[in-house]
Amino acid sequence: MRRLSLRTTPGRVGALAAVVVLAIGGFYIVANIAVGNARDGLRVIGHDAGPQVLATGDLYFALSDMDSQVASILLTGREGSPGAGQQELARYSQDRAVADRAALQAAELSVGDPADQAAVRSILDGLGRYERLASQAIVLDEQAHHPAGPPPANVIAVYTQATDLMTLELLPPAYNLTLEGGATVRGAYAAKRSAVLSGRLWMALAGLAVIAALVALQFFIAARFRRRLNPALAVATLGLVLLTVSAVRLLSGEAAHLQAAKTSGFDSILTMSRARAISNSLHADESRFLLDPGRADTYSLAYLDKSQTVLYVASGNLGEYYTALGASMKAYRANPRAVGFLGFYGDEARAHPGLAVTAVLSRFQQFQADDQRIRQLAGGGQDRQAVMLLTGRTAGSSGYDFDQYDQAVVSLIGQHRATFDQAISAGDRELGRSVVGNWAVLLLLAALGAAVLVVAGVWARLREYR
């Protein structure tokens, strides 16, 4: 074979073919990066930070509920039947089991992040100390045989140590891990979705460039060699058209799945998990308010702050809050499209109006109405009635209404979780499903196949020049 020169026909054909093969290589690289970004986005949002938010949300709830149950046990004071407090004790152990499981899961998900791992470790360390203090308080309380209402000072002193440990050392890292998961998802979503979209553009351009070069090569050969069609080049061209079109569709789909997982699923999961955590902690503040008269002001103010974090209506104190909440809920029921309140539930009611959020809101309102009655009773010196209303588990009691409220929140989280899981698994499925298995393999095989076809198609023509 003669030395190829660009001035000769075979030289030009060879050069053009080389350009086509290089362009195929470029297309492969660009497409591979774009598909890799989609895969990374799904991994972080769907399998890493997303589950971390759920696990740490459960962890916070279980921890906070343990403290809430201990407060209830101490408040009931074993009055009446020897079985009093048994339900709370059972729930305490159940919470403990949930906390263990969730902490384990959070620990698994935090592998590779030293700060997160330190946080999980400190929660587990603190939990052991908390349990010792809690059992000590429960034993002292049993010995005291006091009527329903605040226990003796020695019990309060030990409980105060326990609850301070819980609220200062255990709950903050759990909540911060939830927030950190949220921040990771937000960052990954912004970066990966825009990378997938710009990757789609670059890949489409690279695909078009390859196709244009192939068509040019086809015409050049047709003109110079007086052949109508070079079959190998035609097959390569057709294959690349199909590949480009389906890869663009894949990336559009992946971007849409990421968006659905984030905005229709994850954002609400995060908001509602935080609302659930803060709600449990304000419920515990209600018990602590009755339990420790010395800190009653502190716990009432914390209760108001937390209620306003969950659902904000302008109000200077708790009395005004109940009234403003009532008015705001009335207006909301009349027109659920005009959301006149802020806070977590304001965000949720605006983003996803519907029966599920309405159920949460009306049960929250019922819980607040119970709270108003509890504080009226306690203020009027009827501690026993206040405690009964707070710790009761039958319809009409605050304990029951709080559980109803919490279940409505859980079911709303479940709804968003289903949307989230669907979007993530659709994204995973489409990335893993092509004619030859996953997309990484398909891209490699298709690029190699196209390059081979180009070389083969050109080779046959160049042989004529021997």
Partner: protein, 279 residues
């Protein structure tokens, strides 16, 4: 050949059109200017609260808030000499953030649901507790409830007096003031009976004023000191939260608390606080 060229031309045209169209849609919303990636920062601090934010005669600012601000700014990648401290008061904090005269506020700025409607809060970097300060000779006031009918200093823009007269419904008589340093002066000259605000603020004044005042030591609230940033700067908020986590993890928080409040009788909490969250 000619037809081929024409067709190639059409392809190129499509490609260019596509590129332009897609790149235009790629420019999406950016939100408010973030404090992330800045070379310089203007930080609002108090100028008259010893121990927290105090302007010295030479114009330098010192205090716990100032040191925390420096630490957080360093974690954001801002050189120490590129920080400008700007004095703010309780009344001017929101406006200073909204009109952009400061980028961040570290000024004993309690996170409240009401303020959150106007400001995004990073942190809290510390949780203080509201307490009450009286003249040393006053033995009648032992708790905030004893303030009924007493003259209570009310700093404009502060949340502390609202905690007493609104949230706890205690009918104290409010005496307006511009700052806690004026409150302390008013307490000493007898024009008010009590100053009720965060224990950290009171401790700073008590250290300076000496035995003329007494803190009643009956704390009654959680005051979560937030880092005020412009509403909606989520990445800025997430970045300052990471910095605050670091500050507790590497022991700086404990060291700063000891440095500024170690000689007081305050119980200092050296565990990372529960963050408010950015969204």
């Amino acid at each position: 050949m000619k037809r081929g060229r024409a067709r190639a031309g059409a392809w190129v045209g499509t490609v260019v059109a596509l590129a332009l169209g897609l790149s235009l849609t790629a420019c999406s919303a950016t939100g408010p200017a973030s404090i992330v990636g800045r070379q310089t920062l203007r930080i609002g601090v108090k100028a008259d609260q010893p121990g927290l934010g105090l302007r010295l005669p030479d114009g330098k600012f010192v205090g716990f808030d100032v040191d925390v601000a420096r630490y957080v700014a360093a974690k954001l990648g801002v050189q120490p000499d590129h920080i400008t401290f700007v004095p703010v008061t309780s009344a001017t904090r929101e406006a200073a953030l909204e009109n952009g005269s400061v980028d961040m506020v570290f000024a004993t700025y309690s996170i409240t649901p009401e303020r959150e409607t106007k400001v995004t809060f990073g942190g809290p970097y510390y949780v203080a507790h509201q307490d009450t300060m009286v003249r040393a000779g006053d033995t009648a006031i032992h708790s905030v409830h004893n303030l009924k009918g007493k003259r209570l200093c009310a700093v404009t823009g502060s949340n502390s007096w609202k905690r007493v007269t609104q949230e706890l419904n205690i009918p104290a008589v409010l005496a307006p003031a511009a700052s806690y340093s004026s409150c302390v002066a008013m307490l000493l000259d007898g024009s008010v009976d009590a100053v009720s605000t965060d224990d950290l603020i009171l401790a700073g004044f008590a250290t300076r004023t000496g035995s003329a005042v007494r803190i009643v030591n009956a704390p009654f609230s959680y005051e979560r000191y937030g880092i005020g940033i412009r509403k909606g700067d989520l990445s800025g908020c997430e970045a300052v939260n990471r910095a605050v986590s670091q500050m507790y993890l590497d022991g700086t928080a404990a060291a700063l608390l000891r440095k500024w409040f170690g000689r007081t009788s305050l119980q200092l909490d050296t565990h990372v606080p529960q963050f408010e969250g950015c969204g």
